[in-house]
Amino acid sequence: MSAVLELEHLRKNFGATEIIRGVDLTIQAGERHAIIGPNGAGKSTLYNLISGLHEVTSGKIRLRNHDITNRRPFEINRLGLSRSFQVTNIFPRMSVFENVRCGVLWSMGCKYSFWRRVNGNVEVQQRTEEILESIHLADKRHIPASLLPYADQRALEIGITIAGGADVVLLDEPTAGMSHTETARVVALIREISQHKTLVVVEHDMSVVFDLADRISVLVYGEIIASDTPDNIRGNRAVREAYLGTDFV
């Protein structure tokens, strides 16, 4: 096994407040890694640092052999790391099909081409169709994304994230706000799409976490207090204390 994503002594301040307080974390190739922790622990902030949305205050982020610290989001994306958002972040005025296709274009070498018809690119169309099939939105392809029901928007969020074929995928609370059946559908989807990928998922639903993850890291107040296999995490005292009074299993 080899490390795909490495965080070294990562710190992030917003003004005087330190939100990420020295995080060291290594994600191995092909693993499904869950990050759990209470609300406000800094999980989304960690994603924002990795994906280039926010600048790090100090520390290093490495993607395979690239130093991606403070690189711009599109550069990091082109290196094969893609993320979803906790708050649905799609292209509301465009159709479902167009949304997914936007995720496909760069990876298919379309770049900024303003001289070739996008509909004429068979590979792009096929890839978009595949993604639509896998997120079960093929029959809603013409609907403007803003009109989709919430659960479908969350599926589309994942669809856009994986459309570019990134092999490191970061999902931020993909099942938040969903019913049991919807959650089951998304978990199946995540399992399917993460087959030959490295997956990092922030998730609150513990049954999902223990069902899906090969490894679990626990983030509390900007620090990783444990990073281990699900079984060991379950038995970890520090983790139990951090989650005291919640429905942690």
């Binding site: 292209f91 936007c102 760069w106 990876s107 900024y112 018809r117 996008v118 459309a163």
Partner: protein, 423 residues
Amino acid sequence: MSMKGLLNNYGVWMVAALIILLVPIPFGSGFALSIASQMTIAIVFALAYNMLLGQGGMLSFGHAIFFGLAGYFTIHYLNWMGQGVVSYFPVSLLPLLGGLVSMVLGVLIGLVSTRRAGTTFAMISLGFGEMVTALTLIIVSFFNGEEGIQGDRWVGPEPLGITFGSDVQVYYLAGAWCFAAAVAMYAITRTPFGRMCNAVRDNPERAQFVGYNTQRVRWLAFTLSAFFSGIAGTLHALVFEHVGFETVDIARSGFVLFMVYIGGTGTFLGPVLGAVLITWLTSILSNFTEAWYLYFGIIFVTIVMYAPGGLAGLIFMHEPIWLTDPRLLRRLLWPYALGLASVLVALVGIIGEMEMIYHLSNDITGEFVMNLYGFDISLRNTVPWVICAIIGAIGLALCRKSFPLVAQHWHQVMHEARERVLQ
């Protein structure tokens, strides 16, 4: 491709080409043809402007600089050709050259202005607009101040006897370029860049996370828009054989925003509608009334408030209905006619009052007589004031009655269309 397929895919374009070709037959007179030429120019500029506003979500208050500067360049180039300073370049291809000049300017200015979208972009565009307008008045040797510069498009060899000396020939030149530019701009909306332009407009944050540099996308949109604006500006210079600071100033920038917004930013057709309608209105209104700018303001505010999709938005609002069953539209005919008639009655009254007020405050003869709707009236007489007020009041009362009726029928028909689709 089959005949039917051809018609489906290119029918609209064939009709457009046919219109451009046939216009000089009924409208061959100097005045009408000049308006037709202005329309083709306005269409190109409006479409170019909508590449920014509608497609890319960038609101510019200074886009006329790319229109006007290409115009200045063109006039100078014509004169230089006449003097033999520069080598001959076919006049029919000058729009390409003018477009390239504006494109280079677009690359440079866009580098600065497209780093940010939204308010920052709008403010920077305003700044550049003011700067260039000031320059046209400062650098007299190139821009010749308020007078502007003149040129003669009739230079060089005359292939097939085409000199562009006549109005018809220059109309066809503008028409051909209008057609080509419109096709090109439409094609661009269907490319990867065109799609990402929309994506960056809708959600610039997310666009970065699918691998696109949003600044690059905006910059490219800006550059391409400048190119097509330059084509429009060149055509303007060729048609009028004159350019002045009014081709670059804020008023022109505002006017194209007007056209595009009134026509509708959301569709490709919108700016075309706006350009044709506003050019036509300008030419007739400015003949009949001096207060026409006021009326434009009113139209603009009304559209912004009640029909933010513009005229095209109003038309395409009916798309679900005609896709379901065009016969349903017939049920909207008489409510619409009623609504429109009410508005017209109200307008006759209100415009009458405004014309009289305008005349009253601008009367330098001291006689206070004017011609309103073909009647010679004296403003000292209260009768015309009262009559216009009554007509206006009746019109407004009719509007209050007919608008709910229009809304009611609209909802009924929409409801029925939806029912039929769901069946």
